[in-house]
Structure formats: C-alpha cells, structure tokens
C-alpha cells in the first residue's frame, strides 16, 4: 500500500509526545498523564462540539423557518451559545420540594455520562481515538443505551405526572428503537467481519460499507438513521418531551445546569448517532480514495482525516435537522407500530439477506 503524505494529521504529534514522556518518566506515569490529558481533551471536545452544534442548529433551523436566528452576540451571532452557556452555568437551580432527592439529582448525570462514555470509542480521525476496543460497535451501543436510565429516573423522581408520562413514553420508545439500531449495526458487522471501529474504517478504504453491501446496506443505513433519530428523542420522535402535550416531558422540573445536562446530552447524542453512522456506513475519517489513482488519493489525503470525519458527520446531522423541522410528531402507538410492525421485521430479513450476500460473494468488493 502506498504511503501518502499527511501533513496535517495529529499522529506525529501524539507519537512524539508519548515518546517524550516515556523518556523522562516510568511507563506507568507516562500512561497516567496521557490518560488525564486524553480525558480532559475529550471533555473539552464534548463541550465545544455541543456549543457548535447548538449554534449550527439554531442557524439552520432559522433558515428552514424563514427566520434570521441569533445575530446579536458577535458577528452572525456566533458567540450566542457561549453567552447561553455562561448564563446556564450561573443560573439558579430551583430545588423542588416533593421529589425523590437522590434520584432526582442523580438522573442528569446518568444521561450525560452515558453520552460521554461513547466519546471514548469514536474515531475522530486517524489516531484520534481514545480507546480502540475490538468490540467497539458493541461498546458504543451498550453505553449509549445507559442514558435511558437517566430519563426514567428523572421522570419517576420528579413526582410530576407530565414527567412520568414522558418518561414512560421514552422508555417504550428507547427500548424499541435500540433493537432496530442494534440490528442495523449488526448487519454491517456481518459485512465487515469486525466489531472494531478502526478495523471498520480500514475496510472502507476504497468502498464505503453503504455501497459495499448495496441493497442490504442501504436498508440498514436508512433504518439506522430512523432509529438513531428516535433514540435521540428528536422530532418527529420527540414524544417524551413533546412540548405541546407534556410541556417538557421528563425534564419539566429541572432547571439551571441540571436542565443544561439534559439539553447537552440531547445534542451530543445526535452527534454520537451521526458519528457512528458516518464511521460504520460512510467510511469514518477515511478520505475518499480510488484504487490506482495515486495523485487523486494524495490530494484527498492532504485534507486531514478529522475534517473528513466531521464533514460526513455534519452531513448526517444536517439530514437529521431537516427531518426534525419538517415533520409533525408521531403518536405513541404509531411510533411503536412503526418499530415493531415494520422496522424490526424488515431488519431481521435484512440481516439474513446480508449473510447471503456475504456468503455468496455478492458484495461489491467481492465482485470487482
């Protein structure tokens, strides 16, 4: 395999840093310091991505809705979210009397921790992945589904009927769509033969999984987008917090930073879903490359891998926003019908189809 020049990657920097640390201290401390730095870096990325996402969503939504959007704080309102974050940090947390104190205060942390845990396994770029599990796909699905505990706790402990209904809806919705999402990812695991996210990216060097498994992959991709959208509780699947019915659903009683946690987690979950979809179906951080076209490939590699990653993720987020701001909300029975009567059966057949495709050598890479 030809090696292309990659001037803007972080791999050199991280490697140099690692060896520099190891040369002055024992391995244990070197790793310890690296872990701390990685942790801080992830937290910072987490916050920054959330702020960017909120700004982008507000602007894009405004564009969809024939509005202007934030335009007062800084040019084009780019510091609007910064101002909002500062505001929410210093806002009073209103203590509600008749709640289950422990669960009430613990709930936001469940949610935020669940979405944060997935961050460790997402490959943001070449060498920009904190932990590369050999069961990466499984890990991501598992920890992101922890968030539902937070939602249920919040709804239950708030001692509010609206919250309760919201949480129950959320529970039904999340558990159902988790199935579809999981099966859609399984379909691709069948195709690539690995659960390791870095391995998945590597197999998509010349052909994205989306095209590699053609019919089956397309179906899986669509289902994953739908169920991912549903898992993030965003319109048209925003029943748990349907503001026109349940005021704010499970987080009705929360205020200040606690509410901020829910809000942040919602945005980050949207990012996580898009990031996983980009990694699994659209080649992740891998630049577009065509076998044999070395010059073209070299040009593509000049664009750093993290730009590719964020670009692909961005496109998926845009689609998600588009859907959100176009459709009215489903009703709970319609929502569950869609999952149990349509998506799940299609999904099961789809996996079978993928197995047949792989075994009979009908995937694109096997044909050509």
């Amino acid at each position: 395999m030809t090696h292309y020049s990659q001037p803007l990657e972080f791999t050199g920097l991280t490697r140099w840093f690692d060896s520099a640390l190891r040369s002055v201290m024992p391995d244990f401390w070197a790793i310890f310091i690296e872990l701390v730095i990685v942790g801080i870096a992830l937290l910072a990325t987490y916050a920054v991505i959330a702020m960017i996402l909120i700004y982008v969503e507000r602007k894009i939504t405004a564009f969809f809705q024939a509005r202007i959007g934030p335009n007062r704080v800084g040019k084009y309102g780019i510091f609007q979210t910064v101002a909002d974050v500062l505001k929410i940090l210093i806002k009073e947390i209103i203590h509600v009397n008749k709640v289950d104190k422990f669960l009430f205060y613990a709930a936001p942390f469940f949610i935020i921790v669940a979405s944060m845990l997935t961050f460790g396994a997402i490959p943001f770029g070449k060498g920009l992945q904190a932990v590369d599990f050999n069961i990466g796909v499984f890990y991501v699905t598992a920890v992101s589904s922890l968030g539902i505990i937070g939602v249920l706790l919040a709804g239950w402990s708030s001692n509010n009927k609206y919250s309760m209904i919201g949480a129950m809806r959320s529970g039904a919705q999340f558990v159902s769509y988790e199935l579809s999402g999981g099966f859609a990812l399984m379909t691709i695991v069948v195709l690539t033969g690995t659960m390791q996210l870095s391995g998945m990216v590597e197999t998509q060097r010349y052909c994205w999984n989306l095209f590699n498994g053609h019919i089956a992959s397309f179906v899986a991709f669509i289902i994953y987008l739908i169920s991912g959208h549903a898992e993030t509780n965003r319109g048209p699947f925003d029943l748990p917090e349907a503001e026109s019915e349940l005021t704010a659903g499970y987080h009705t009683e929360y205020s200040g930073l606690q509410f901020g946690f829910f809000y942040l987690a919602e945005y980050l979950n949207m990012f996580v879903i898009a990031a996983i979809a980009a990694t699994v179906f659209l080649g992740g951080w891998m630049p577009i490359q065509i076998k044999g076209w070395d010059a073209f490939n070299q040009i593509m590699w000049y664009i750093p891998s993290y730009v590719w990653f964020f670009g692909k993720t961005g496109v998926l987020i845009f689609i998600s926003l588009w859907v959100r701001w176009s459709f009215p909300r489903l009703r709970i029975d319609q929502l569950l019908n869609l999952e149990w009567k349509y998506l799940l059966p299609i999904n099961l057949v789809n996996i079978l189809l993928m197995v047949i495709l792989v075994l009979s050598g009908l995937t694109l890479t096997q044909i050509f």
Partner: protein
C-alpha cells in the same frame, strides 16, 4: 311561522305571544321543557339548534331567553322566554338533554344569576368560583370588593358536583356526584399549558395514554364584560368586542355595530360597507392562518407554525397601515369605519391575493398530505353532525361535520349577498376535515376580496351619528360569521344610552363544550391535536 305558532299553542295552551319581528313566546317554567321538546322533535323543521341561552333579570322576574333555530334552515328563529319570580331560590328546568350546548350555558346562568336548573347533570358555577358571593349580573348585585376579596391562597380542586334531580314522582332531590371515578389518574392540562391556546383548564383522567374523561374549568380570565357593558355607552362597549375573540376582532366589532345601527336606524355608507367586508375577510384569513399554524404546532410541526405566521404578518401590516392596530384594530365604529383606507390599500391587498394562493399550495405540499400529519388527523376526534348541531358547533368545525351553518349565506349582512362564494362543507367531521375547511375558506375569502377590491365606491366612510346613541326600547339580535363560528350580540334596551342587558354569544364556548365528547377514548396527544383543530380562543369563552 303560523304553522309553528299553532304547534306551540297545541303544546302549551297558555303560551303568550309578543308582537315582535321574531316569533316570541313566553311560557311558564313547568311547560318549557315540553315545549322545547315538541319544537326539537318537529319533523318538518326541527328546532334543534339552540343559538342563545341568555340569563335575564327583568327586575320582578329572573329568567332565561332561548333563541332556537333549525339546523335545516338556520334563518328560522323562535325566541322563548321563561322566568320565575322566586329570587331566593330560583329554579328552572334544564334542557341539557335536548341541547348539549345548554349544559355550559346553564351553568353560566347559575353563576351570573343564581338560577339553578333541575336535571342538569352538573350544576357547578361556570366562569366563577364556587365560593363567589352574590350573582354579578343580577340588578341588585353588591359589587363591594370586600365581599369577594382577592385570595392568594391555593385551593384544592374538589371533584364533586351538586345537582338537582326530579324523581319520577315529581320530587326534587339535591345530591352531589363525583366527577371522576375513584383511583383515576388525573392530570391538569392547563391553566398554564402551551397547547390550551390560552388560560384554559382541562382536568383529564387518563387510562395510560387514553383520555377517559375531561372536566372543563373555565373563567381564569373572566372579565365580566357583560356586566361592565351595562354601565357603558354603545361606542364604549365596542372596544370590548375586540377583546373577546381577539383573532376575529374586526368581525366581532362588526356584529355590535350592525346591531346598534339597525336598532338606531343609522344608514351605513356604501364605501364603509365595502371596507368592512374586505377587512372582515382579511381578518378571517388572519384567524384561519393562525388556527392553521397553531394546529400544526400542536401536532409538533414548528416550521409550519412559522410559515403561517409569515403570511399573517402581511395582513397585520395592511391592518396597521389602515388604522394603526394590528391585532385589535378598532376599525369599525357605529355608522361606518373609523379610518378611511390608505391610497395603496388596493395595491397591497391585490398583491397579497396571488401571494397567499401560492402559499396555500405550499402548505398543501408541505403539510396537508404528509403521512404523519394524515395519521394524526384522519378519523381523529370525529364530531357527528347531530352532535355538532346539539352542541351548536358552528363555523369551520360545524361545516366539517356536514352542517351548512354559514351566517353569511343564510342571513347575509354587509355585502355578503352581493358577492359570490362557496360554503365549504365536508362530511367527515374529523380533525382533517376541520383542517382542510380552514385552508379552503382562506381561498374563498380571497375570492370575496377579489370581487370587492376594485369596486370600492367613493363617498363617506362614516355616517354622521349623534354624540350619544340611544337605542329605542326593544330586544335586538345580530349574528355574524366570525372566524370560529357564529358570533352573536343580544341587546335589550330600555331606551337608555346604555344597554339594560347585553349578551355576547361566543363560538368558542360551543367548541370547548364539545371537547369532552369527541376526545373520549382518544390518546392524550390527539386531545391536544383535536383542540388545535377546533381552534377555540379562551377570552371568547370567558368574556
């Protein structure tokens, strides 16, 4: 009418006829229910549409005026009066079993006049608290603030209702009933809730996500407009009309203007008629656009909401240029309009018509055929025609149930007999029919404006009126077709510059009164959606 007179005499020999423009009958309370039943079941022309139920204090007597009409031919009207001279414990018979709309109206009469209705299933006060001292619309009401101090205490809601039932052997039994069953999961939708379209309070018992029963509490913004009107002159009262259904502000005001003009014999200049009609139709488009927006928003489509607002803005701009007001526009006055149209008015309106047509197509593409939207509206909240008539649900909602009830058609006022337009009628009676009716009515309104806009005659825009308008003694009714249905004004004048009694018949009250019926066994999300499709405005109910 002679035939009906005969039927009334056959039913009640003692009925007293008044010599009035409308057929007016006075009967004893005991005979009332039988008479109404006879008229209600009269096969040839069933008087099954109770337009008004007006409480009255005639001084010596307390009573009720019923204005009955027929769903077959709404232009036929009978006025029936009944009363009791017992001011301590006035009792009349309820007609709730015949007319669904009587329920809330009788409760309102109880709150305002203290008249209780025998056999009404739920005799709590409507609009007022149960512990209110005195009955405000009685002429001997003591308005001392010390009697009803502003309470800052939080009161628990007690879900029981008193009622008086007549046993088969003719005895009256007072009893208390529970509104909900034991162990019902009750949530309060409102008074502060994003989708009640105002300060409305629905106590709702749920079975999972399914609505079992709805109990309507209203009156959070009750302002006593009818009471206040009794001490104000007619031009002063005009300003209240805008604040009822604020979305049909101009149309409401038009109703009172016509009523006063007819009573006082004021001739309205032709130019003012044109301006009034065009402004009414613009107002209707504005009202329907907001209804459409709010409905889509209730279904969770925020973008559609903003689209409706975008188009509405243009109408509001035109209003602003005409008279300075945007929502509450104070355009109609007794005798004509307050301001003449501005020079580019015709140009602006003519530019708006094709623009709005284009946008209607966009709404159609964007929302009306969306699969989720259809799933949320088709066969949801079905209102049958009988129920629509019984609950007096007029307007786009009534017409969606297949009932032809457009006042502009059967009882034209202003210029509606000169223009050509279709009455939009659908028979499905579901949310979707109501939704589509509104969009189609926008198109019809555009069509009406189109016919008028180029023909506005020159001349005065307001007739000269006396500084103090006194109406001759008598009873005056006037209905108009507001954005939400039949809006009516009733004035009883005793020759003064202030009315002796003034009643506004609000279309929204009928819309809300039918909500418990059509929302039963629907999902809670659909309850919100149905509310959006009914499009009630709370200040219109609370008055």
């Amino acid at each position: 009418m002679e035939k009906i007179k005969q039927i009334i005499l056959d039913a009640v020999k003692e009925a007293v006829f008044d010599d009035k423009e409308k057929l007016t009958v006075t009967v004893e309370p005991q005979k009332l229910h039988f008479l109404l039943q006879t008229l209600h079941d009269y096969a040839e022309l069933p008087f099954d549409y109770l337009v008004y139920l007006i409480g009255m204090d005639w001084g010596e007597k307390l009573g009720v005026i019923y204005l009955l009409s027929s769903s077959k031919d709404p232009s036929q009207e009978i006025i029936i009066k009944t009363g009791t001279s017992d001011r301590e414990n006035p009792l009349l018979y309820s007609v709730t079993d015949l007319y669904g709309t009587a329920h809330f109206n009788e409760r309102e009469v109880y709150a305002m006049y203290g008249i209780r209705f025998i056999n009404n299933p739920d005799m709590r006060r409507f609009l007022l608290n149960d512990d209110w001292v005195g009955f405000p619309l009685r002429k001997d009401y003591d308005a001392d603030p010390a009697l009803n101090p502003v309470s800052v205490e939080s009161k628990d809601i007690i879900d029981t209702a008193p009622r008086i039932v007549e046993t088969p052997d003719g005895k009256l039994v007072e009893e208390t009933v529970n509104i909900f069953e034991d162990g019902d999961y009750i949530i309060n939708i409102g008074p502060q809730h994003p989708s009640t379209h105002g300060v409305m309070h629905f106590r709702t018992s749920l079975d999972g996500e399914v609505v079992k029963k709805i109990d309507v509490h209203s009156g959070y913004i009750h302002r006593g407009i009818e009471k206040l009107s009794e001490s104000l002159t007619y031009p002063q009262i005009l300003h209240f009309t805008d604040r009822l259904d604020y979305l049909s502000a101009n149309i409401n005001r038009h109703a009172l203007c016509i009523c006063v003009e007819k009573a006082a014999g004021i001739e309205v200049p032709e130019r003012a008629q044109y301006i009034r009609t065009i402004m009414d139709e613009l107002n209707r488009i504005d009202s329907h656009l907001l209804a459409w927006s709010a409905h889509t928003n209730d279904l969770g489509a925020t973008t559609a909401f903003i689209y409706g607002m975008r188009e509405r803005e243009i109408i509001l701009d035109i209003f602003e240029k005409v008279c300075g007001g945007r929502l509450i526009i104070n355009e109609n006055v007794v005798g004509g309009v307050m301001f003449d149209i501005y020079p580019e008015f015709q140009k602006d309106v003519k530019a708006f018509i094709p623009y709005m047509r284009d946008k209607l197509k966009e709404y159609d593409r964007f929302f009306s055929h969306n699969v989720i939207a259809l799933g949320r509206m088709v066969n949801v909240g079905v209102l049958k025609k009988e129920d629509a008539v019984s609950y007096a649900v007029s307007g786009p909602a009534g017409r969606a149930s297949g009932w032809s009830c457009d006042v502009r058609k059967y009882n034209p006022y202003a210029l509606y007999d000169k223009v050509e337009f279709k009455e939009i009628i659908r028979t499905e009676g579901d949310s979707y029919a109501r939704y589509m009716n509104r969009l189609d009515e926008i198109e019809e309104s555009l069509h009406i404006i189109e016919q008028l806009i180029d023909n506005i005659p020159e001349g005065d825009y307001c007739a000269k009126t006396k500084a103090i308008i006194k109406l001759p003694e008598g009873e005056y009714f006037q209905h108009v077709e507001a954005g939400k249905g039949l809006f009516g004004v009733y004035i009883e004048s005793r020759g003064d510059k202030t009315p002796y009694r003034l009643k506004f018949r609000s279309p929204s009250m009928a819309l809300v009164s039918v909500m418990p019926l059509i929302c039963e066994n629907e999902k809670i999300s659909d309850f919100i959606g149905i509310g959006g499709s009914m499009d009630y405005v709370i200040p219109d109910i609370d008055r």
